[in-house]
Amino acid sequence: MGNHSDGSPNHSGTVATAGQNEVEKFQDPGIPPHRLRLADTDPKAAKRAERQVALLFGSSVVGTLIFLVAYFAIDLGDDTSIATIRLQNALLGIGTAFAMLGIGTGIVHWAKALMPDHEVSEERHAIRTEEDRLAAVRIVDDIVEETGIKRRPLIRNTLLGAVALAPLPALAVFGDLGPRPDNTLAHTMWAPQDGKLKRLTRDPDGTPIKASDVTIGSAFHVIPEGLNELHEGKLNEKAKAVVLLMRLNPESLNPSPGRENWGYNGIVAYSKICTHVGCPVALYEQQTHHLLCPCHQSTFDLTQECKVIFGPASRPLPQLPIAVDSEGYLVATSDFNEPVGPSYWERDEHERNRNA
């Protein structure tokens, strides 16, 4: 950027201060002469503008009437169709728009066409006078002096200490906005209850899924058995326990050591909660065996145990170990062996405790 493109012939390169360059400047010619509008000179034009303004105000009255008619003539009942509501909404919109725009454009037109449009100049005054400033500074100094706070550090320091500690009770009060985080984040409803393995059931109706129902290429949205029967905290449990169930050709799956028995006949189940920020990973791409999160496009490869292959997620989706019970229904053999969903500060600790 060494090429200075300064067009001035006598650019000195010296310090430019308030007045800028010392070169002569054009003189300010002042406010341009006022130009009369048509309505200022022609009474006919003024009369016309007057009528236009009145017409605009009149259109506002029409708008108000439209609104009232639409409001009272269309009644909402149990059998109102969407089309009726839409019509009423549109008419209320038109009515309000006319009522408001009529007034608004009328006033603006009035101001622009008929009110005096001389530009005038007004002096700016200094925000404060030098005298005021000196007085204010002196007052502040006097006040500080009279408190004696500078001379009595003991008072100052104890006050500072007291004020610094005083908000602690407020913090403590807000500390009861919710329970302290515990390891509930690390557990889901999939954990076997009283030795009974939880069945995989369809979302949302809760009917159990037979392994034989799961054909190759199909995908199921799954919730744990008993979720729908919960009276409290149903959404909390669901937000952790939802699972995607898919069946692939067993050869396409490459289970890592220790996970060979987590699937059944090519059927695998993975947490549906994205490891990025927790959206449901709801899109299953059948051909490529990719799972895609619609929120931020994290993409997981089912054939590599849902490893992240694209997008902002950093961890693979947790896998739910499944098997088939004596009646042929799919069951979870245990809970996830790691916390599901987005990462959090204590997550690694929770995971270690789970597997200890």
Binding site: P32, I85, N89, E123, L235, E346
Partner: protein, 559 residues
Amino acid sequence: MSATATPDAPAFVAKTKGGRITNFVDERVGGSGILREFGRKVFPDHWSFMFGEVALYSFVILLLSGTFLTFFFDPSMAETRYAGSYMPLKNVEMSVAYSSSLNISFDVRGGLFMRQVHHWSALLFVASVSVHMLRVFFTGAFRKPREMNWVVGGVLLILSMAAGFTGYSLPDDLLSGNGLRIIDGVIKSIPVIGTYISFFLFGGEFPGTAIIGRLYMLHILLVPALILLMIVMHLFMVVVHKHTQYPGPGRNDGNVVGYPLGPVYAAKAGGFFFIVFGVIALMAGFFTINPIWNYGPYDPSPVSAGTQPDWYIGFVDGALRLMPGIIGDWKVEQIWFGHVFTFNVLLPALVPAGIIFTVLFTYPWIERWITKDNREHHVLDRPRNAPTRTAIGMAGFVWYCVMWAAAGSDLIATHFHVSLNDVTYWLRALFFIGPVIAFVVTKRIALALQRKDREIALHGRETGRIVRLPHGEFIEVHAPLDEYKRYKLVGFESPSPLPAEPNANGVVDSKEKRRAKLSQWFFEDRVAPATPAELAAAHGHHGEHEAIESGENQKTLSH
């Protein structure tokens, strides 16, 4: 100044009805001083001053429509079965909040209209605040003495986004619930206290049964109260400073040129409120916004493809999308000392927004430090006349827009039939090079426009009239500008770089050297305004002996 009638002075009798009313009020509560001060106060006029007005008016409309909605909305997260008139959701399990939002839409007369007015004005509110801030930035209106008002404006921008987001979540529909889910994920990524904040905010695990009620309180009480407070401060400072004005003949830092408040300015501004209201009503009547009945109640399991947040949250959402979670085989999420550092969420959620708002809040002081310009400015810069500032602004704007576009990466991919991954890769590249390109291009355009101004000021306007001279040469006739138009093109400052100066001890310290380097960068490419001498030379050069108008009928200068 109130007329306290002394026994010997005859009581004041106003001649007109308006005068009598004014007098009646004044004798009881005073205020004629205020009216005298403001009744004819001069306001400069320019179309770009309208954005702030739009913001103010849409906020008024938000208060009006929002009050209506509170009469019918119930922020409870208790489970209920829908019994309203919208058939597709009949008997579906949902929260009371969602059910009451559906009732507002389908069973309260005019309720849908009010909801749409409220949502459209919310979108318009944040938009107009943003555009207003862009106007203030690019015209240099943030300079002394208005730095503090610029900061108040920045706080208003943040508050408007907070108001929008807390309101967006209230209906407890599927879309906004997923938005809360994302917020929860982002909060959990905060080191040390993230999990605690999440548990406190949601009253336990996500989603819990507390969040809607809490957001409701923030949305209808705390945030609007803060916005109102900030608006009062903002307008108070506008009154103290008086409005800025665009440069032009007759305008300088010592005066205000415009229309008196009463009647013409008040009429225009007041009328404009009704126009804004009318336009919002039209949008609410004809364009569906946030059709919550299509989304269904919040459920952690389903999600629809192509989900979008409201526009003003888009840049954060887009940044979240752009950040890769793994680079090669290296996981961006790290486990250090047994704790999780979720950089793939933390960095995009906090860093870009942090940079944008830090620069936004500190920019007036940065520029003042670089330029050592401590004067009061009441005349605005035309953006071209401050090329480096304009380029910085455009760089930031483009950076924001890249992130914003990234929030729609999936829609870009499906609408233009391109690969989603490619869109993301391109946007990742643009995230870094976009601002640089924007800076360079903007600066060049600004300088080119300045040169064009010089050209026009010196040689006049092209008339398109081609004349053949006796010796066969063709020339295009240039019409000289009148002095008012010319002054608009030449009446600006073009500071040159300010070299390092020794401080009080006679030492040039390293900070001052850095400042001088920045000053060099800021001002080295400059186009000086045309001068009368150059104009005379240009005329002489052409051998034309037209009267140079500027010499005649000089008006007084206020310098």
